[in-house]
Amino acid sequence: MTERMNHFQQKEKHVFVPFITAGDPSPDSTVELALTLEANGASALELGIPYSDPLADGPVIQRASLRALQQGMTLEKAMTLVGTMREKGLTIPVIIFTYYNLLLQLGEQTFYEQALRNGIDGLLVPDLPFEESESLRKGCEEHDLSLISLVAPTTSPERLAHIGAQAHGFLYCISSLGVTGTRSSFSTDVMSFLEKAKAATSIPVLIGFGLSHKTQMQAFESQCDGFIVGSAIVKKIEELGPDLVNEETRDTALGAFSTYIAQLVP
């Protein structure tokens, strides 16, 4: 684990981990958005790599992927963007969120080398279940990277115990069935799911999928260590997109983004 991830795990307060798509609306603005997120309380950043076939994602992140692909974004380019973020002073851990095929084509070794070179702390692969992740788990451990594990409300108690015991960084609890995207309400079972997840692991337990309001997060506060917010933020970026890429309006747009993030988390 990196020093940054270690620091992240020690936080007393609830952590806030935002997700943004690399290259949306442009590579430069991704760097600016990351810095703005840290300035507004983000404890870590999940950086999504655009993919042609994102089967765990809802329409908002699908659209972001498409925009980023049109910008020519790739896994390798996104990793060098993190290097730029570091040069510009980003200190929070960065977790690369990528579908497995992109990683497979880049090659695990190249990924580890680039991760080290660019100050990357972790990896999350939404379509790589525990059973398929053995080589990646080993490789990440050897290279001080945290491979983030996901658990869902449908994960059996035995699996939860198994995954929880071997999880790194933080345990990502999927709040509800379905793909990414905001939900208007959550099942009452979420609380007991989070409780079981907390019992299954010694690392921080974060909840994600569907969170878009402070009040939703407050409801889960007692049973988790933090929140992951993706689609709601990506949707805001979509709205601000044209202004973020226009030099004359960029600062105003970043200001609006700042205001939005500040009111988002408890």
């Binding site: 993919y51 042609s52 076939d53 994102p54 089967l55 765990a56 809802g58 329409p59 699908q62 692909l69 790739t74 896994l75 390798e76 579908y99 497995y100 095929n101 992109l102 990683l103 497979l104 084509q105 880049l106 939404p126 379509d127 790589l128 279940p129 525990f130 059973e131 398929e132 996901l150 658990v151 869902a152 409300p153 449908t154 994960t155 059996s156 699996r159 999927i174 069935l177 379905g178 793909v179």
Partner: protein, 400 residues
Amino acid sequence: MMKTTFPDHRGRYGKFGGKYVPETIMFALEDLEKGFQDALQDEAFLHEVNKELMHYSGRPTPLTYAHKLTEALGGAKIYLKREDLNHTGAHKINNAIGQALLAKRMGKEKIIAETGAGQHGVAAATAAARYGLQCTVYMGEEDIRRQSLNVFRMKLLGAEVVPVTSGTRTLKDATNEAIRQWVAAVKDTFYMIGSAVGPHPYPQMVKYFQSVIGLETKEQFTSITNKTLPDKIIACVGGGSNAIGMFAPFLQEDVELIGVEASGKGIETGLHAATMAQGTPGVIHGSLTALLQSEDGQIQEPYSISAGLDYPGVGPEHAYLHESKRVTYEGVTDAEALEALHLLCIEEGILCALESAHAVAQAMKEAKRMTTEQDIVICLSGRGDKDVHTLFEQVKEDLQ
């Protein structure tokens, strides 16, 4: 010859296959694996599947000796396994009946399915009607436009057709969307996949339900010819369900097996669906297989005149059979397939599907190089009624 013990306990065929899916549906795949294995031990279930194939779909389908086509080509004798004579017009119904009965046995009341041109969608809607299941079919908006009659057929059969507007709005996106919807409704919904693709145990299960094609062929060939085995068996490959069903009982036998993929307008034009020839190992729809993709791993949109062959991946067992060289995979262009389709019409009075015409075209090349004492079996996977509109447009295009 090597004994096949695939898939292994992880659902692998050599390095191919596996389960590359979100954690949320892992339990459903485990459930399905168990449900499928249980069903295979249940005599009553197997009897029910066979009975439905016989009395509802019209099996066994004939093995027809194509004597005029044989004479016209002047080489090996050509036999046609007539999957085109199935209810709904193609082999797709074999799998749809099997999976629908399995869904019922597992206590599911809803099925979802993806479809490209609409053939699997129609088969799924048909089986759902027959067995009292609620059916939702995901179909790319672009395919809905191109195949409006099949959309209407599915609706007539009581299915709901949901347009998919993501990505390139074709089969691969419809499959993504079906998987996404399955993730959301996984507790009470059965995902009926249409080809020998997807995460384990789907490729294994689809192969099982389609292997009736090969099993019947083996018996029929012997009874017609008094020989044990044909020299070559040829089938078209998109996802590869008719091919794997046809090949299954022959994999351990001394028969040359040939899969035919779509070379479209020619490999060199970039407009093709030649996954084996041009693909590299990658993950699509939950399975590691041969895949048409860019260097950095974005999935590429394939092309073929035949909507059933334009899939950027292929079933993982085919990827393995290609790598192990047990099956040879050849390419046939749009033009060659069209020529074969016309020849089969004129010589045998059979209008086959454009997909199946790719297998016929390859057989034409092979037969000429063989003796009159040798035998070729073609899997004629479907009938061409669905393609009449495409053929009509093609003739107009050729005239201009």
